[in-house]
Amino acid sequence: MKRGGGPYKVGMAAAVIGLPSFLLLPFAVVRRSRIATGASLPPLSAIGPALTIALASLWVVVILLSLREGGRGFIVARGLLGAGMIAATVAVSGWTAGDLGAHAGRFARVSIGGGAWVSAIAAYSLVLASRRLLGRRSPLGLLVGLLAPAAIVAMLLTGFLNDLGIMKEYANVADRFWIETGNTALYAAVSVTVATAVGVYLGIVAFRNQQLERPVFATVSVFQTIPGLAMVGLLVAPLSAISFALPVLRRFGIGGIGWAPVVTALTLYALLAIVRNTYAGLRSVPSAVVDAGRGMGMTGSQLMRRVELPLGMPVVFSGVRTSTVQTIGNATLGAFVGGITLGRFIFQGLAEQSPDLTMLGSIALVVMAVIVDSVLRVVQSAAFKTHTAGREGSQP
C-alpha cells in the first residue's frame, strides 16, 4: 500500500459504521428497576445536543483525517483520536448514567446503549490499525494502545462510572466476581498446562510417525465439533462413575460435577491448536538443518531435543497462546456443572433478563483474554528474539 495515496480505508469504514450507529441507535437504555423493560434513548435525549454534536464531530474529524493515508503523523493522530473517542464515549455514558438515573428513581438502571457500543468498537478498530502500522515495539504505538484502557481504569477507580448499570451489578456481586475471575484463570492455567504437555507430545508423535498423523489430528479435531454443553454432559457420566469406583478421588473434588468435567473439557478443546502448531513448528525446521543433524549422527531423540523442538518452539508457543485465549473464553462452560467461572454471570444475567450482568461477565472474560494474550506475546518476543530461525548465512 502506498503511503500518502488514496483515502484511508480503515478510517472510512470505521466512520461509515460508527457515525450512523452513534446517531441512530440508542445511546443509553434506562430501566425503572433491574428487571424492568428498558426505554431506549437516542443520543439527543440521552446526552443532549451539545455532547451529541461534540461526539459526532469527532467522527467527522476521523473522516477528514482519513481522506488520504498520510504519513506517520496521520497514523498516530488517528490512533490517538480513536482511543480518545473510546474514553469519551465511556465517560459520557458514565456521566449520563448519573444524570438519567437521578430522574428515574432509586432502583433505576442505566445501561450503555447499542449506539455507544458500536461507536466505541468502531473507534477501537482505528486504535488497532494504527498500532499495527506503527509496529508492535513502537513506543508511540504502545501509547496509542494503552490510552483508552488507562482512561477507563482511571474512571473505574475514581468511581466515575459507578452509576452505570454494569457497575451496580458489579457492586452486588463484587466478592463472587473476583473469586470467579480467579477460578477462570486457574481452570484455564491447569487446562492449558495439561493440554501443552499432551499436545506437544501428540504433535511430535504425529510428526514422527506418518501413520499416526491422521488419527491424531482426527481425534483432536473431533473434540472441536462437540458443543460445549454436550461435551460437559458427556463427561459427567464417566467422571462420576470413576469417582464412585475410586472414592478417594472424590476427596480431591473429582466427580461428575465441579471442576473436573470443566477442566477436562477445556483441556480437550485446547489440544487442537497446540498439536497443530507443534506439528507445523517441527515441519518448519529447514530440511538442510535436519539433514545435517542426521548426517552427523544424531539419534532421532537427540535431533528432536537439540534441534527440531528448539527451532520449532516459537510456533509451538504461539499455539499455546492461541489455546490459552480460546480456553479463557471456553471457561464459561463451568457455569453448567457447578465448576463455576465468570460464565456464571453471563448465564445468570440471561436467566434474569439482566443484560448488565451478562455484559459484566463477558467484558471481564474479554479483558482477561486480551491481557493474557498481550503478556504471552511479550514473553514470546523476549524468549524467541534471535537465532531461532530465519536466514543462516545465505548472503555472500
Binding site: 538443518v289 539433514d291 545435517a292 549422527g297 534471535t386 530465519g390 548465512g393 555472500p396
Partner: protein
C-alpha cells in the same frame, strides 16, 4: 577405501532407479567428485555411504566392511558431512555447531574448545572472534567455512560433501575451492564430493565419476575425462572448451623447452603455473614463445605454442 558394489536404489513411484547398478572404488586419501545433471543419482550415491539412504541391492563398504554392519548413528559420527546451504544450526553458536559431533562422541569440553579453535584456524577464520557468533551473523562464505570445519571436527577419515560451496557467489566459491585443495593436500582425507559444476570437479577431484540417469558413465582422472570423454554425453557435459580446461591441469614442466628464441624479457611465466597461464601470456604479448622463471626469477626455459600443442598430442596413460 570406499567401495560401491553393484548398488541399486529405486524410489517408490519412479520409473527408473535413482542409482542403477553402480560399482565404484574410491581410494584412500583421494577426492572423488560425483558429477552429472540433476537426478543423475550423485547425491543418492553419496548419502548411501553414511546410510542416510539404504540401497535396495548391492553393498557399500568402507575398508572392506559393509556400512550396514555399523549402527547408523555410530557410522555417521565417523564420517564428516557437509551439505549445500550449509545446514548450520541457527540456534547454536559457531563453536557449538563445530562441536556437535565431538559432543555426540562424549569429548571433554576443554578438548572440544581447543579443537574448535584449531579448526577455525584451519579454515581461515579467527577462532576467538567467531566462536560465539551465530550463523545469522556470518557471511555466506564464512558459513560455508564453518560447515567444512564442522565436518572435520572429529577428524574423520572420510568426508562427504554435497555441493558444499553451492550457495555462494563465484568469487567466494573459487577462494573456498582453493582453500579446500590446500587443506586436503595436508589432511589427505578420503573425500566424496558431489557437484554439478564441471570446473569445480576438474579443480578439486583426483578422479571424476560422471553419472547420468543413475548410471556411472565414466570414472577417470580429470585430465583423461577432458581428453577422452567416454561418449557424446560426457563430451557435451565437459563442454566445448575442454581443451582449455585441460591446459589448466597441465603443469608447465610437461612442455618445457630450453630457453631459446626469447624476444621480450617481460613475457615470462613462473614455473609452477599451468600451461593455461603460459598460453594466456603468449596471447597477451603476441609472441610465439614465453620464458619460464624459477622462484628466484631466473629464466630456466621456455614454452611455445608448438610445445603446448605437442604436449597435447601425446597420449595420456
Amino acid at each position: 577405501m570406499i567401495t560401491f558394489d553393484h548398488v541399486t536404489k529405486r524410489y517408490e513411484g519412479t520409473a527408473r532407479p535413482a542409482v542403477d547398478d553402480l560399482s565404484l572404488q574410491i581410494p584412500e586419501g583421494e577426492t572423488v567428485v560425483l558429477i552429472g545433471p540433476s537426478g543423475c543419482g550423485k547425491s543418492t550415491s553419496l548419502r548411501m555411504v553414511n546410510r542416510l539412504i539404504e540401497p535396495d541391492s548391492g553393498t557399500v563398504s568402507e575398508n572392506g566392511r559393509d556400512v550396514r554392519d555399523f549402527p547408523p548413528e555410530e557410522l555417521r559420527r565417523q564420517i564428516g558431512y557437509a551439505i549445500q546451504g550449509v545446514g548450520l544450526f541457527p540456534h547454536f553458536t559457531v563453536g557449538e555447531n563445530i562441536g556437535v559431533v565431538p559432543r555426540l562422541l562424549g569429548w571433554e569440553p576443554a578438548r572440544i574448545t581447543a579443537r574448535v579453535e584449531e579448526l577455525l584456524g584451519l579454515v581461515g577464520l579467527d577462532g576467538l572472534a567467531y566462536m560465539d557468533k551465530y550463523p545469522d551473523e556470518l557471511s555466506g562464505g564464512e558459513a560455508q567455512r564453518v560447515g567444512v570445519a564442522r565436518a572435520l571436527a572429529a577428524d574423520p577419515p572420510v568426508l562427504l560433501m554435497d555441493e558444499p560451496f553451492g550457495a555462494v557467489d563465484p568469487l567466494t566459491r573459487e577462494r573456498l575451492q582453493s582453500e579446500f585443495v590446500d587443506i586436503q593436500a595436508r589432511l589427505k582425507k578420503t573425500v566424496v564430493f558431489v557437484t554439478h559444476d564441471i570446473d569445480e570437479a576438474v579443480k578439486l577431484g583426483d578422479r571424476i565419476a560422471i553419472m547420468r540417469e543413475g548410471r556411472l558413465i565414466q570414472y577417470d582422472t580429470p585430465e583423461r575425462v577432458l581428453a577422452y570423454p567416454a561418449d557424446e554425453f560426457v563430451a557435451g557435459f565437459v563442454g566445448a572448451e575442454r581443451a582449455l580446461k585441460r591446459l589448466s591441469l597441465a603443469p608447465i614442466s610437461e612442455a618445457l623447452d630450453p630457453a631459446v628464441g626469447l624476444n621480450d624479457p617481460k613475457a615470462t611465466v613462473p614455473l609452477d603455473s599451468s600451461l593455461r597461464t603460459a598460453l594466456a601470456r603468449i596471447i597477451e604479448f603476441g609472441v610465439p614463445v614465453v620464458g619460464i622463471t624459477d622462484e628466484a626469477g631466473n629464466v630456466v626455459g621456455s614454452v611455445s605454442i608448438e610445445s603446448i600443442v605437442e604436449r597435447f598430442k601425446r597420449p595420456l596413460l
